[in-house]
Amino acid sequence: MQAFHLAQPTMLLDALAIGNAADTKFIAGGTDLMQLLKDNVETPAQLVDLEGVGLSQIRADASGLRLEAMARMSDVAAHLDVRAQWPVIAQALEASASPQVRNMGTIGGNLLQRTRCGYFRDTGFNCNKREPGSGCPAIAGENRMLAILGGSDHCIATHASDLAVALTALDAVLELRRAGDAPRQVPITEFYRLPGTTPQIETVLRPGEMITAVIVPPSAAARNSHYLKLRDRASFEFALVSAAVALDVRDGTGRDIRVAAGGVGTRPWRLPEVEAALRGKKLNDDALREASSRAGEGARPAGQNAFKQILLRRAVLRTLQTASA
């Protein structure tokens, strides 16, 4: 770990002002960032602790759900309205990390956690994401956990958040703020960037910009939403493959269908090809099978992760079956 300056503002505006300085990072629960600091993967000159600025409300009403960035993962997962109206969010959170991590981890921090790619997290390796231009040893190396979708020759790291997959299925919108700028709203489906030739740039966040809240619209589909996470260890492990499905079925016909997947993409991965195959169709088992067989079209496996292609289809199918049962 390198020495850094720690700012502990108590007002959001102060946090934004300090956060706008060069070489500065926000720190929320610290469950991801502390590890990266200790391992010298992140070496900011200054940290802005968001603990004192409030920003931890969870509000649900007819207009939708608003999760402020500092709301704890555990509080969101336990929230009765979230569980009733947007169950996929609660399920994704409860399948994340451990109770201890969820008690500390925040919604904003969760969405901005860095990849678990082992090469990224160890400065003893080259890594384009950590040191642009140094190379990507994972593509020919240990890539079982890494992405089959959205990768480039420069990076195939998976986005690790479960919550982000659920929010992607629900068409959530992120509320962003930066000192001096008007607040802006960005759909989560446009928030994460593909690695391309610049894997170090992961989102559309501008320097100094903060996530202040996540807004999730209400819908019949959201009320019937499900999360399935597959992994070798029964708990406390990142997804090999996960699926988030929100389904509005009327008279056996699929009206509103949202499908997203985790563990397979360099960002949370929406599956429009599956959605399109089911929209307006009778959701019988044949239709579900046919639609899920389209999941992950265009996948580019790297070797050890080739099985994710099959697993993705089966995970999507199982989750569709659960949601339409």
Binding site: M1, Q2, A3, D39, N40, R116, G118, Y119, R121, D122, G124, F125, P137, A140, G141, E142, L230, R231, D232, R233, A234, S235, F236, E237, L240, F307, I310, L311, R314, A315, L317, R318
Partner: protein, 693 residues
């Protein structure tokens, strides 16, 4: 009053749960400074130059020790536990993550910050990172089992018998690199007082540490004082005196102050050994009556570069003795790679070897269309078949019977994929466990008071297994006093000698010494009267070693649930029945049994160290990505202790219980996965993609 066998609470339990049990890194030593290891980022080559300019000028930095300026070590003596490299004695880099410098600073934070600024330039060579690609260069170990026996053995003519047999399997099994990952990472505090060295260190063997450090620094053993009252788990990785302990002492010498060196979790992956990868070739055959006629087990285990030492995974040991087969050959070979030195890990040889052995036995039973338990009983060895000796005792048949009964084995459907619960396939598997009963010489000191209180001292260790408690019970039992009247002290090299806490032999070795010393002190007190009597005794194994084969046994039964489409594998039921001889304490014994079984479940389904093929650097050197079982992975575990009151093996009749329960678990799980899915997985860990059909 007799407390042997009872579930007496841990005498050190309160200290532990209140945080007052003091571990190596926690001793408050005045004037202490901190050392941090710098490790190589290449897999092979030499250090061309170390640039310490920036680091040296950083706040608090006292010294940066590199191969250029490190004191030359005496390297005397032949202590088996002394790891002699890498100790900054030359410029060679033999593996990625090798210690190449030590930074000493006033505070840990300063040492860490400076360590990250040390820049090292290398001349790179091409590292050998895969043993599988280098099998053709395999070589026989020079010092197999510390030279106690040759690496190969043969009885009968297995090849001819194989050719003519009715049922055969000819298969290759693979086990991965695994790391011990005890809760307590390695830590050492070293302090020199003139030429005398005091070391607080996490070790499974204070005597070995004393001998090793004395030899490495060229001083007399009595000038090295080792203190280690508590160990937070070892599993084998604290058996040797690994470089971090030696480097702490070296750093203390260089700065002339006491130095603490606590290895980080990531550094643990290249600092203190691991279970090496093995490739095992098995050729087994049986006649049409289900009698084994041929067993060949050729084991290759992955090694470091030979200059770092030697460790050979003895995978064939159980194959020699478990079944009554007339034609058996085993061999052991090493494959050098650019990796750190491997070492013992819980049930060395048997954990890896029995995965292959007991899976292949299952394969042969399938080929014969026999129930795998029936097949094992048909080949039950009444005598030890390799050395042709009687067993001191063997209650394996009772283990099979009681385990099968408790599990409900007779209701198993042999046909793969025939037991289902909705989308979930259910499979039942079983395997045999065995572990040799070891014993070494040990000594004990007792001071017995006329008030029936006793102080007992032995230079042994408590890895968290319960040595304090069990030895207190043995003393109390021998003296006929309540356990609370005993104060048992260990973990100090000034106390009477005891062997390394490994090989499941602490009770069998130290227990008889405690018992004999208590008897001697009581006899003295009765004879001479007075307020106190002292006794020191040395005990050692006798003729029994040569007359009998001594082993513990067990039978493992497991149920797995495998999602037919999604491939997730979960263990839903486990029954283990064990012949571990006499049990000293029902509670600590059950803890060892369930702990060992959980360790085995980790081997079966989760644990694997991933090495980058290009650089030889470990990619998952942390416990977020090196997976061990969590509570959600562990089902209800039923453990059965099969009674066995035999006293031939040693005066307490304890056969050793620390390693036995993990042996065979991986095979039982693999056999259950086969029964569930019809897929025979010949490697561990067994993962989702292996069963996606």
């Amino acid at each position: 009053m007799a407390s042997i066998g009872q579930g007496v609470d841990r005498v050190d339990g309160r200290l532990k749960v209140t945080g007052r049990a003091r571990y190596a890194a926690e001793f408050p030593i005045s004037d202490l400074v901190h050392a941090v290891l710098v490790q190589s980022t290449i897999g092979a080559g030499t250090i061309a130059a170390v640039d310490m300019g920036a680091a040296q000028a950083m706040p608090g930095v006292l010294a940066i020790i590199t191969p250029d300026n490190a004191p030359k070590l005496a390297m005397k003596g032949g202590a088996q536990q002394a790891v002699r490299a890498p100790l900054l004695q030359d410029n060679a880099v033999h593996f990625n993550g090798q210690h190449v410098a030590v930074v000493v600073a006033q505070t840990l934070v300063q040492a860490n910050a400076a360590a990250s600024q040390v820049r090292i330039r290398y001349r790179r060579d091409e590292p050998v990172t895969s043993m599988d690609a280098a099998l053709a260069q395999a070589y026989p170990p020079k010092n197999f089992r510390n030279g106690e026996r040759p690496p190969d053995s043969r009885r009968g003519d297995p090849d001819t018998a194989f050719d003519g047999a009715a049922a055969k399997v000819d298969v290759t099994y693979i086990t991965p690199i695994e790391h011990h990952n005890p809760m307590e990472p390695h830590a050492t505090i070293a302090r020199w007082d003139g030429d005398r060295l005091t070391v607080w260190t996490a070790t499974q063997g204070i005597s070995g540490a004393q001998q090793s450090l004395a030899g490495l620094f060229g001083i007399a053993p009595q000038d090295v004082h080792i203190v280690c009252p508590f160990v937070g788990g070892g599993f084998g990785c604290k058996g040797n005196t690994w470089p971090p302990a030696t480097l702490a002492a070296m750093a203390a010498k260089v700065v002339g102050r006491p130095v603490k060196l606590a290895v980080t979790r990531a550094q643990m992956f290249t600092s203190n050994g691991y279970r090496p990868r093995t490739v095992q070739k098995l050729r087994f055959a049986a006649d049409d009556q289900g009698r084994l006629v041929s067993m060949r087990h050729d084991g290759f285990s992955q090694m470091s570069q030979p200059v770092l030492g030697e460790f050979s995974e003895p995978v064939g040991l159980a194959t020699e003795m478990l079944y009554a087969c007339p034609n058996v050959a085993v061999s052991h070979r090493l494959v050098a790679t650019n990796a750190s030195l491997p070492t013992y890990m819980r049930a060395p040889g048997l954990a890896s070897g029995n995965f292959a052995l007991e899976s292949a036995i299952d394969e042969l039973a399938v080929a014969l269309k026999m129930d795998p338990l029936e097949f094992r009983l048909r080949n039950y060895a009444e005598q030890e078949p390799h050395q042709n000796k009687p067993f001191a005792s063997k209650a394996l048949r009772a283990c099979y019977q009681q385990g099968a009964e408790a599990f409900g084995w007779s209701r198993r459907s042999a046909e793969p994929r025939s037991m289902r619960d909705g989308s979930v396939l259910i499979g039942w598997g079983m395997a045999t466990s065995t572990y040799p009963t070891h014993r070494m010489p040990a000594s004990a000191y007792v001071r017995l008071g006329a008030d029936n209180s006793a102080l007992v001292r032995v230079g042994t260790q408590d890895l968290g297994t319960g040595t304090y408690t069990v030895m207190s019970q043995i003393a109390a039992n021998t003296l006929g006093v309540p356990v609370e009247r005993i104060r048992f002290e260990l973990g100090d090299s000034a106390f009477p000698h005891a062997p390394v806490s490994g090989g499941s032999m602490t009770v069998a070795s130290v227990g008889p010494a405690v018992k004999a010393a208590c008897e001697a002190a009581r006899a003295k007190l009765q004879r001479d009267g007075g307020e106190v009597a002292e006794a020191s005794v040395d005990v050692k194994p006798g003729e029994e070693e040569h007359r009998y084969a001594m082993h513990a046994f067990g039978a493992q039964f497991v149920e797995v649930r495998v999602d037919a489409e999604l491939g997730e594998i979960r263990v839903s039921r486990f029954v283990g029945a064990f012949d571990a001889g006499r049990v000293m304490n029902a509670k600590t014994a059950r803890s060892q049994l369930i702990g060992g079984i959980v360790y085995g479940l980790g081997m079966a389904l989760l644990e694997e160290t991933h090495v980058d093929g290009e650089t030889g650097r470990i990619v998952n050197a942390n416990i977020a990505e090196y997976l061990v079982p969590v509570n959600a992975d562990v089902p209800d575990i039923q453990t059965i202790i099969v009674p066995n009151d035999e006293l031939v093996s040693n005066p307490l009749g304890a056969k050793g219980i620390g390693e036995l329960p993990m042996v065979g678990v991986a095979a039982a799980v693999a056999n259950a996965v086969y029964n569930a899915t019809g897929v025979r997985v010949r490697k561990v860990p067994i993962r989702i993609e292996d069963v996606l059909v």
